[in-house]
């Protein structure tokens, strides 16, 4: 409970700043409208009220975004194309599939790097190079190429998610699998243990804390991948589609609501992994 006060203070400060910025950024439109109509622009509190309640503001005020979020989340049937739950699920399903694919690929690559010298020398530079290419540039090509072989909808987006999320898993797992010190490895050598036994009994359990840290980063990257993957398909469905159609029609409130929905989904997923982490490590006796 001691955390509540500082958290609340920061939150209130952010909201206050946000409202202030909304006044500053949306003011120009109020003046513009007034001069077109040939009347005196509003001033004082009336001006503030106008900047906070525009239909297409440069920066929507917090209550507008919150209102849109609540309306499109709870105010509509989840199957409706205007429901954020519908779009959120479209994105989340691609995110989760891509996350699983990326995690499996990342772990397999890490195991390969650990046990195969050629992979040790060659995989990492490629993995790093893959992440230096802007995903925004490569996503449309992945969509187009997969579309030409008949793959549409969920899978291409999941592949883009996997493309982003395998990387933190590879890096974390290589580090985790190599975390046992020389003494631990010497001990197994005195037992004449096989590489397999060393992997299952020592390296894999020792890598668990690293894995969970990587999974959290990977989950966030996965969501970004899914959203980016929804952009080139022309705003069909998903949070990415909401962002795109919002920007087509200048629906800034819709854009911000979609952004917050994405952030809330990501935070929820990362918290879920954190929960799994705590339970697993406690069960393994590694958390005090």
């Amino acid at each position: 409970m001691r955390h509540v006060l500082p958290v609340l203070t920061v939150l209130i400060a952010i909201i206050a700043l946000w409202y202030g910025a909304a006044v500053g950024l949306n003011r120009a439109w109020v003046y513009d409208q007034a001069s077109r109509a040939g009347v005196e622009p509003a001033s004082g509190l009336a001006l503030v009220a106008e900047t906070w309640n525009q239909e297409r503001p440069v920066l929507p005020a917090p209550h507008q975004v919150a209102g849109e979020l609540v309306k499109t989340t709870f105010g509509m049937a989840p199957t409706s194309k205007r429901s954020l739950v519908y779009h959120g699920w479209v994105t989340l399903s691609a995110t989760l599939l891509g996350f699983v694919m990326g995690t499996v690929l990342g772990i397999l690559l890490a195991v390969g790097i650990l046990h195969n010298r050629a992979m040790d020398m060659s995989v990492m530079p490629w993995a790093i190079a893959s992440q230096t290419i802007p995903i925004l540039a490569i996503a449309p090509m992945i969509i187009v190429v997969l579309n030409s072989v008949g793959l549409q909808g969920l899978v291409p987006k999941a592949i883009i998610s996997a493309y982003l999320s395998f990387f933190p898993v590879v890096v974390g797992m290589v580090k985790g699998l190599r975390s046992p010190d020389q003494m631990q490895l010497d001990l197994l050598k005195t037992y004449n243990a096989s590489a397999g036994a060393a992997f299952w009994k020592l390296r894999l359990p020792a890598s668990m804390p690293y894995l969970f840290t990587s999974l959290k980063v990977g989950m966030a990257a996965s969501l970004v991948g899914a959203i980016v993957g929804e952009l080139p398909t022309g705003a069909v469905a998903g949070l990415g589609a909401r962002l795109l159609s919002g920007s087509y029609y200048g629906q800034t409130v819709q854009i911000w609501a979609a952004l917050f929905a994405a952030a809330i989904v990501a935070a929820g997923m990362v918290m879920l992994i954190g929960l799994m982490e705590r339970r697993t490590l406690r069960k393994m006796g590694m958390a005090r």
Binding site: M183, Q184, D186, L187, L188, K189, T190, Y191, N192, A193, A197, K201, L202, P205, M208, M284, G285, M286, R288
Partner: protein
């Protein structure tokens, strides 16, 4: 004390040399080491850091490879002996897996070596009793003190019945009082199991109290300067350390260390 009729060489080193190639050129870790360890001996290796005592122990365990001379363990090469699981090794740190209970940690070598489940449980109970940790099997390592953790690691090394026990400064990180207790326990253990024990230490009282044979080593290059066969009886209460014989051996060890150290430092 020495019974030549029943004692056979378990470990034999002849003109053993070991050179490490480092970035600053070769380092002679062991030079012309000759030593015979018989069955049932308790041998301590003592000397300042860099004298090669740990390297010699690791060479016996096939964790280092000598660059010259011969080294046999039970008549085999150290690597063959390792594959025959001829020894248990106790490191300076207990090195227990934090995700396994004490019993689980002791089972580790047993699982790797393919003992049956029932046999594992039976052995875990037996060695836990041997190191006086009965009843602690279900605890996790962090719930135990440093001394208890080290006893658990000794139990782990004993679990698969290797007849050689190699210990590399096992109590180096523990305080004096705990150390005295554990030294007593190691002696009891040795008397009960009749194992051949190689023990690295840099404590003179520890070496004299425990050993039937004390190997004094000196650095640069690492070599043996003195081998002392202890005249102390096998039965050793802690206050034997005030006896005349004990003090004389300790004196001889100290002399050996001083002579070996020369004018280097």
């Amino acid at each position: 004390m020495k019974d030549t009729a029943t004692s056979a060489p378990v470990i034999e080193a002849k003109n053993l040399n070991l050179v490490f190639e480092t970035g600053d050129g070769p380092v002679q870790a062991l030079k012309d080491v000759n030593l015979t360890i018989n069955r049932g001996d308790f041998v301590s290796f003592i000397g300042p850091s860099g004298c090669g005592k740990t390297t010699f122990l690791r060479a016996i365990a096939a964790l280092e490879t000598p660059t010259g001379g011969t080294l046999t363990v039970n008549g085999m090469t150290p690597d063959q002996a390792r594959q025959a699981r001829a020894y248990g090794y106790v490191f300076q740190a207990a090195g227990l897996y934090p995700w396994r209970t004490i019993a689980g940690n002791i089972k580790l070598p047993l699982e790797i070596m393919g003992f049956s489940k029932a046999e594992q449980d039976e052995r875990v109970n037996r060695v836990l009793e041997l190191v006086e940790l009965a009843g602690f099997g279900k605890k996790f390592p962090w719930q135990l003190s440093g001394g208890m953790q080290q006893r658990a690691s000794i139990a782990r090394a004993l679990a698969f019945d290797a007849d050689i026990l190699l210990m590399d400064e096992p109590f180096g990180a523990l305080d004096e009082i705990v150390r005295d207790r554990l030294n007593e326990e190691v002696l009891k253990l040795w008397a009960r199991t009749g194992k051949t024990i190689g023990f690295v230490t840099h404590s003179i009282p520890e070496a004299v109290y425990l050993s039937t044979k004390i190997v004094v080593m000196s650095p640069r290059p690492g070599r043996i300067t003195d081998v002392i066969d202890s005249p102390l009886p096998k039965e050793r209460p802690l206050d034997i350390r005030d006896s005349r014989a004990f003090i004389e051996i300790a004196h001889r060890v100290r002399e050996g260390l001083r002579a070996g150290h020369g004018d280097h430092e």
